[in-house]
């Protein structure tokens, strides 16, 4: 049992689980305080998400929707954790995600590009945004959090302006991809049939999973990963070892930006969502990516599951009974849970401390027993 608990992978998993449970408890508590009557039903609905529906076919379709939205979140969390491994906090992922949305939608709607060029364009634009942060960090020592946050807003309003050119006349939303340029929609490759013909299930799903594994391998097995992690962990030692630490910082943020941009393309090019050109806040996808990255134990494979869970809870929020609660309560509950997800590292630390203490106690008991036995022999 002790051995299992000491395994770092197991620890990460347990810590994440504990965070989830505490998050759900606090969420339930909030519901109880506001209105005890509907609390239990609502919190179970949040957990059930698509299972709230009675028909298995509807469940499957709704499951597909959650899955479709999980992939962009997974990309954002990969963006965050990749940069984090290199010692950078890429809060700019939120803006890079927006840049990706802007690039893919504009290329699709204004220029009529096919799905692949649109996707690549999204990666490039978001990567450029990451590069700006990286260059500022590497050559002017501007903190990447500050420049990232400011760029988030610049990108948001720029995107609103640009995408206004391809929006519907009567609404603030961009045109439907299905109507204007169906070739820009990501191919389903038959995957939609697995989810009761949910057309939002596209090649994005397998692609995102493959990228997670690729990032995992890149970080753990390759020379580039070795260099990047060394740079992140100790910039001075990396420089001393002849690594080009400035290039590495910029490269990291380009890759991180590209991942977030790809995430946006994976959502907007399914047609599931349209951009609202009057948005006055940066979409939460990039920020939720932070929670997903930490909940997944900063591991690209863990991020797959944590991203799904967070999207699951977020979607589940819409099943909170609005007779008892105002409609914003769903956001509140999911954000409480997501907030708690950030405590994974803390829980891990506490667990290790407790393990150490119990071991120490055992050691002492052993010694005392030995001493007692020794005394008996003496007598």
């Amino acid at each position: 049992m002790k051995k299992v608990l000491k395994n770092p992978g197991m620890q990460a998993f347990l810590a994440s689980l504990i965070c989830i449970i505490i998050g759900l408890l606090i969420g339930y508590l909030v519901l109880l305080i506001i209105n005890p009557e509907g609390a239990w039903e609502s919190i179970t609905n949040v957990i059930k998400n698509f299972f709230t529906w009675s028909k298995p076919k509807t469940q499957l379709k709704q499951f597909g929707n959650t899955l479709a939205k999980t992939m962009p979140l997974l990309m954002c969390s990969l963006s965050i954790l990749f940069a984090y491994k290199v010692g950078l906090f890429n809060i700019g992922a939120a803006g890079q995600y927006v840049a990706g949305a802007c690039a893919s939608l504009y290329a699709a709607l204004a220029w009529g590009w096919g799905w692949l060029p649109c996707m690549l364009f999204a990666i490039v634009c978001a990567g450029v945004l990451g590069a700006i942060v990286g260059i500022l960090k590497a050559y002017c020592n501007v903190n990447e959090v500050i420049s990232g946050i400011m760029l988030n807003w610049i990108t948001l309003y720029l995107t609103n302006t640009v995408l206004s050119k391809v929006k519907e006349a009567a609404s603030p939303y961009t045109l439907y991809l299905d109507d204007v340029n169906p070739s820009a929609l990501l191919p389903n490759a038959g995957l939609n049939n697995l989810f009761n013909n949910n057309k939002y299930i596209t090649i994005a799903v397998p692609l995102a999973l493959i990228i997670s594994i690729a990032i995992h391998i890149l970080l753990s097995r390759t020379r580039l990963g070795y260099e990047l992690k060394a740079t992140g962990s100790n910039k001075n030692a990396a420089k001393y070892a002849g690594m080009r630490e400035n290039t590495n910082i910029i490269l990291t943020l380009i890759i991180a930006g590209g991942l977030a941009g790809l995430g946006a393309s994976m959502l907007y090019q399914t047609g599931y969502m349209r951009w609202e050109c009057t948005q006055s806040s940066v979409p939460g996808m990039g920020f939720n990516g932070i929670a997903a990255a930490f909940l997944g134990g900063l591991n690209p494979i863990g991020a797959i599951f944590s991203s799904f869970f967070i999207q699951h809870i977020t979607d589940g929020g819409q099943y909170v009974n609005t007779n008892f609660y105002s409609s914003q309560i769903s956001d509140l509950i999911s954000s409480v849970i997501i907030y708690l997800c950030g405590f994974v590292l803390f829980i891990k630390l506490t667990m290790n401390k407790m393990l150490a203490r119990s071991e120490e106690r055992k050691l002492r008991q052993l010694k005392e027993a030995e001493a007692a036995a020794g005394k008996e022999v003496d007598q």
């Binding site: 020379r223 060394a230 420089k239 002849g242």
Partner: protein, 511 residues
């Protein structure tokens, strides 16, 4: 019965997997200077942390003036009159000496500072104990020795009776060290009890009345320094006889490996150049030592030489080839190895495993990276195991130990293994023995001499006088960024060296 100022009786403190203090007794008499001697990892710091209430011991008691006390936190220790000068000073750089002294116990009336009274007390104290400090000077403008005296005044101002000095001489010049010794003697003559933590035997012999020795967490014994020799003390500390003198054959210098011509390097902290027009040659088969007091441009000199900082002017040649503009990586692959001054800042990625640190300079080679860019984990493991074996690098889990969890001496051994195994033509070793215990120092000195005998050029940068006198074949003294003297370690004395280091004496030196 003997009167003790502080007694730590049968202290046992365990950490997971290790007993840091195993039944240790330390009794400090009133008015004595008591040395606490031990290698790194012997448990000196843990014992002091227990005394300061930072750790609670599992067993044992602490008595002050014969009365049992409980020390739960540093405030309790302070209330009992225990004060400490840390190895790394705890001073606010941009404050004056006086401000630093009163920090935390500011005399005030309704929240307004009353400095006059404090100034009088500080002046009286520094008069009484011969601590020459200017209370209005800013910390950043005064010498390290004066900063240390400020720390001492801080303790005295708080009326501390028990003064702990944690390796106080590590940062001082020979002249400053003898001043400090005098100050310590003055303090004890005035009835202060002093606990002096050190692993420098000569200083302990000079200043301490008694000495308690720890080894690997265990109490070895307490002796009167008058009754023992230095050799006996060191045998107690290490557990075996140690050879202080570095055994070496006469050097047989060969061709010039490194040739530096008028090197000038800018300073990061001030507008003047840190290294000014330095020229030197290092030949194959000799150890040249760059000596000097800390902060006289040695670090910047090494940065310029290794490529970490660009030169303002001058040139560097390796094997007659100009490498002034070469990158760090190019210099490294051309045959320069560099044991850096700060092993945590430059030498290691602390979060990496030992094996990953072993390949820090060579990871990109075909042995460790495949053509597709994948690390060859098996080769790395084999390579690390070989170095661990050859250089006796000890760690908890072998090659997969996280470097952070290793002791300082073994971290340094790992760096030395890595740099020497690269088979360099020029080995730059910057303070390679800093903070290490006698056993590890002996090992490292042997390695340096072995490199020399193998026909490599070795450039040693050192602040330790014993090392400067013992290891090299030639000494170059650096003062304020210039080479002010070339000395032969066989004919010079520590006093003469000290004069050059302090800038009191200088020759015109030609490369």
């Amino acid at each position: 019965m003997e009167q003790y100022a502080i007694e730590m009786l049968h202290i046992t403190k365990r950490f997971p997997g290790i007993i840091a203090n195993d039944n240790i007794t330390l009794q400090l008499k009133k008015g004595e200077i008591h040395a606490l001697l031990g290698e790194n990892g012997a448990g000196k710091s843990t014992l002091m942390s227990v005394l300061f209430g930072l750790y609670q011991p599992e067993e044992g008691t602490i008595k002050k003036d014969g009365v049992e006390v409980k020390i739960n936190n540093p405030n309790d220790a302070n209330d009992l009159g225990i004060g400490m000068v840390h190895q790394h000073f705890k001073l606010v750089e941009c404050f004056t000496v006086l401000d630093n002294i009163i920090l935390g116990v500011e005399p005030n009336k309704m929240g307004f500072l009353q400095k006059d009274e404090a100034r009088k007390k500080v002046l009286a104290l520094s008069e009484k104990y011969g601590l020459r400090v200017d209370p209005d000077a800013k910390i950043e403008d005064i010498t390290v020795g004066m900063q240390q005296r400020t720390e001492i005044l801080k303790m005295l101002y708080r009326d501390n009776e028990i003064l702990i000095f944690d390796e106080p001489t590590a940062v001082l010049t020979p002249q400053e060290i003898s001043e400090l010794m005098q100050i310590m003697k003055n303090l004890s003559a005035e009835g202060k009890s002093i606990l002096f933590i050190s692993h420098k035997l000569a200083e302990i012999m000079e200043v301490a009345d008694r000495c308690t020795v720890l080894r690997k967490g265990k109490y070895i014994g307490t002796v009167n320094t008058a009754d023992v020799t230095m050799e006996q003390l060191s045998a107690m500390m290490v557990g075996r006889d140690v050879n202080f003198h570095v055994e070496k054959k006469p050097a047989t210098p060969g061709e010039v490996i490194l040739e530096i011509d008028n090197m000038t390097v800018a300073s990061k902290v001030h507008k003047n150049n840190a290294v000014k027009n330095v020229s030197m040659k290092v030949r194959a088969g000799e150890i040249v030592c760059l000596a000097g007091i800390d902060g006289n441009g040695q670090s910047e000199f090494v940065y310029g030489l290794s490529g970490l900082e660009p030169l303002v002017s001058g040139s560097i040649k390796l094997h007659g080839k100009d490498i002034t503009k070469a990158s760090i990586r190019e210099r490294s692959t051309m045959g320069i190895s560099h044991i850096p001054e700060d092993r945590h800042k430059h030498g290691l990625v602390l979060d990496y495993s030992l094996e990953d640190n072993m390949i820090l300079q060579t990871y990109f080679g075909p042995e460790f990276t495949s053509k597709a860019g994948f690390l060859q984990r098996k080769n790395i493991r084999d390579y690390a195991n070989r170095l661990i074996e050859e250089y006796d690098v000890r760690s908890g889990q072998g090659p997969i130990t996280v470097s952070r969890a290793m002791s300082g001496g073994n971290q340094q051994k790992a760096i030395i293994a890595r740099e020497i195994d690269k088979a360099p033509d020029l080995l730059i070793a910057v303070q390679p023995t800093r903070g290490l215990d006698v056993g590890a120092i002996e090992f490292i000195h042997k390695q340096l001499v072995a490199q020399r005998d193998a026909g490599k050029a070795v450039l040693l940068v050192s602040l330790e006088l014993d090392e400067v006198m013992d290891v090299p074949d030639r000494i170059l003294v650096m003062y304020e960024g210039e080479i002010v003297g070339e000395l032969d370690p066989k004919t010079t004395t520590q006093e003469e060296l000290g004069l050059y280091m302090a800038g009191a004496k200088r020759d015109e030196v030609k490369a």
